[in-house]
Symmetry: C2
Subunit: 525 residues, 2 copies
């Protein structure tokens, strides 16, 4: 594999700039022997223009052709060799098995969207046929279908170098929707990004996609120019609250504002209810500790807040959780910046008078040390900002509440979340059923007796939630519904069959389900 | 009818403020004998808080109960008497028959959403059942449904005092979605707003809706406080580009940004193609003139731009259109402000060296005088801002292009539109089929051989489009899809049947269509 470090612009490699940036071995800090060329303003422009030029041809392709492209990307990803996996491991310090699994998830995601394209519900096809005899006025023939909004800028995450990055969920959803992509390579895994971009380009060439359907730029600060580029029509982002919000603000201030789907900060509350504590507090403590430190806690859905009601079993559970957290070994984080942020987050917790440190070795050295804190419930009740933003890494904060009323009050004090979890026995569910509507208001996904760190890629998944979990609670960045973010409806009034998109033609040549005069149907008109 | 002019807050009438505002007879300018109490900051807060308090109970109601409410609103609207119609006519100068028709449209809109609630596709129900045997990892049970985002602020339009106002499309869509509403009464028809708010409140009481499900505030400047209120979770707006953009900017700058669905400015291009001109240019000129002056041109979808290819038939058509526009009589506008804006818009057209006045009497007096202008195509090709924002009133601008290539180039110069219309014969469609993809990029609704001023309320309608037609091209403010703007998805992982919403229960008690393991189905799980 030859890594040349040039930007991907309109199907060519481009290196007009003089700023060279580097990728690092996440475990050793050693600089990897590749030069990456930061994109110049002209190159950013050229990438966006290439995406815009590809858009009319790409979105006009039959959905089945785009599905072939996504399937080909999946095949290319699956075919990447051990050298590739080793490189990803090197850039991220994530274990080999995890990267192999994540690769499978990433190609599976591509295939899921290919399937969505073949299934056809993404079209949102609706037909209201003419009613020439209607009184007082006739109704004309009206038909609606959804099409891709235009070129999409995607910013990947550091913590999923494959599944939330170059060929990740946002890229897959945008490409599925008929939107060419300009991807901003993550600085934490630029060599990985190059491998994956090459795989996408190979797939695009094999399946005859228009040049410019996928572009990738390297560099710090190039994201701002990308989001402000008039050709870009939507943005997908996974990362920090600060970074996501900055993009949202830029996008909102454009002459033409555009939507930003940013997945940002979530502390993912886990509520351990009394009967569950009584029956299996010890087991829950073990599972929870495992979930907190899994992947060095580097998940958007890492459980950052554990809430229970004051009681002897809860105290026992706390002791047990403390003991288990104290046993956890240090782990290498994704990169030096992540470790620095983790240390900073821990320092803020240590410094707060309402927060007590329960377990964990003093954070120092080159690895992240798992930690357990306890915060006074007043932090939630009084809207203290400290607990609201996630500390990205293997740490969690426990809160003890007096009773159910205080529990509900504390939940109301939470900002928006990706997930909210109940650890509960049937008796708990009977006694605490009124928590569910509160959790529905706070989170995109509600779990029972599971841990939020696994995010299934399927039709029913919601990886989203109220701000600041995401910038727009109406979207999800995982699962097939993610395509909706990049589609907009168009209505055809009185158009002849020949000029209508296939999804709306009388004969229903695609055989899809449509809303036909108010009823769901596969029938022709 | 007793009009007391107090704000509607949590089911009570409130008049804490000292600023009194008035409504006017649109035809005479006479002040109507009602005092309206501008809402104080405390009242704005109380209205938003009331909506937030109603939200948990209201959104938890079965959709069928919300449908009863919407049906009851429709019945109350239909039952409003001749005195009401006369009052609306007085406040807006719109003809009696138009108001009667618009009332029917408004109640019909409520009933459409009631039907959507009973039909159940708005739930977007998706179920992926557990796969305990799956390798390498089992899949848990995951189910997705959509629920209302929370309290919605709605700003009505002056030009549809019923269909886009107090009980208009945005209110109906939000209430259908399970979102309580705080409506900012339009200053142009505050007495009308009071009649309609009373009808909504009567319906809410009759059908046992929670107090605070609908609130209404009067006054200038109260909108800003409303949009910035933390309880408000989304905004619906119909009005000017300047007003809509200001709300978008405020909403984006909140600590928690919220989505704004603003329907703003559209010039609704009408393309008259050669064969149609040859066969029926005279007829098209008549129809187009009728569409331009209908309702004094006070429609979002008023055709503000007519484009044709230079030719003898087009010149003849222009002569004919000029003659017909010269014949049109002055009409009274909605209010003095609208007339002033109209005069200002005309003055800007007169002042531009690239624009020629073709027909219409000098704009003066208390009524709007229909006008026809011709602009040089260079205004579109060079991105001149003058043509891009609508002149609200009975005027239109013609542009002559050299040929099809220039036509396409000119279309690319247009900003986003609500509608784009082709006047075409079959031979035109064969020769100009490649216009359609360009129009798809520019507009929310594409019409053939019709005029955009009629907007059917149905499932397939899109009354939306790229900026600045709306602030978010993914929405529509007319038709049943409008409900989508106020819904967000929530996923339940491993939840027992008893705790799931009815839409997701195994037995499918609502009998709705669901995406069950990737297939559209009404089957139980």
């Amino acid at each position: 594999m030859n890594i040349c470090g040039k930007n991907y612009v309109a199907g060519r490699r481009s290196a007009e700039g003089r700023t060279i940036i580097h990728s690092y071995d996440a475990s050793t800090g050693e600089r990897l022997p590749y030069d990456f060329f930061q994109a110049t303003p002209d190159e950013v422009d050229a990438a966006a223009v290439a995406a815009a030029a590809a858009y009319p041809r790409y979105r006009a392709l039959p959905a089945g052709r785009r599905a072939e492209f996504l399937d080909a990307v999946a095949d290319e990803l699956d075919a990447l060799d051990a050298e590739f996996v080793a490189l990803v491991v090197r850039e991220t310090a994530l274990p080999t098995a995890r990267i192999q699994g994540e690769r499978g998830r990433t190609s599976g995601q591509m295939r899921l969207f290919a399937n969505v394209l073949r299934r056809g519900d993404f079209y949102g096809a609706r037909i209201d046929t003419a009613l020439p005899e209607r009184q007082p006025l006739p109704r004309v023939d009206l038909r609606q279908v959804r099409l891709g909004v235009g070129p999409v800028a995607v910013f990947g995450a550091s913590n999923f170098p494959l599944a939330f990055s170059t060929a990740g969920g946002d890229t897959a959803a945008a490409l599925a929707a008929g939107c060419p992509v300009v991807f901003k390579a993550h600085s934490g895994h630029m060599a990985t990004a190059e491998y994956v971009a090459d795989a996408i380009i190979r797939a695009a060439e094999k399946t005859g996609m228009p040049v410019g359907v996928f572009n990738m730029i390297y560099g710090a600060g190039v994201g701002e120019a990308l989001v402000k580029h008039p050709a870009i029509q939507a943005v997908g982002f996974t990362g920090s609250l600060r970074g996501g919000r900055a993009l949202c603000d830029m996008a909102a201030a454009r002459a033409q504002p555009i939507p930003v789907f940013a997945e940002m900060s979530s502390i993912n509350p886990v509520l351990v209810l009394p009967e569950a504590l009584k029956q299996r507090g010890e087991q829950v403590a073990g599972e929870l500790a495992g979930s907190v430190v899994m992947g060095c806690g580097q998940f958007c859905t890492n459980p950052g807040l554990v809430i229970g009601i004051r009681s002897a079993p809860f105290s026992q559970f706390l002791d047990s959780l403390s003991a288990r957290m104290a046993d956890q070994v240090p782990q290498t984080m994704l990169n030096a910046g992540t470790l620095k942020s983790y240390a900073k987050g821990l320092a803020a917790l240590h410094a707060h008078p309402g927060v007590k440190h329960l377990a964990g070795q003093n954070q120092e050295g080159s690895q992240a040390r798992p930690q357990l804190f306890q915060a006074d419930v007043s932090l939630l009740l009084n809207g203290d900002e400290l607990l609201q933003e996630e500390v990205f890494g293997p740490t969690t904060v426990v809160i003890e509440v007096a009773d159910k009323a205080e529990l509900i009050e504390a939940l109301h004090g939470l900002h928006g979340q990706l997930t909210a979890t109940l650890i509960a026995e049937p008796a708990d569910l009977a006694a605490f059923a009124d928590l569910v509507p509160v959790l529905e208001q706070k989170a995109g996904r509600l779990l029972l007796n599971g841990y939020p760190t696994g995010v299934e890629v399927c039709d029913a998944m919601v990886h989203g939630g109220p701000y600041p979990a995401t910038s727009d609670a109406r979207g999800t960045s995982v699962g097939s519904l993610a395509i909706d973010r990049f589609l907009r409806p168009v209505c055809y009034q009185n158009y002849p069959d020949a000029l209508l998109p296939d999804a709306l033609k009388n004969a229903n040549p695609l055989g899809i389900v449509r809303l036909l005069n108010g009823s769901s149907s596969r029938e022709p008109v």
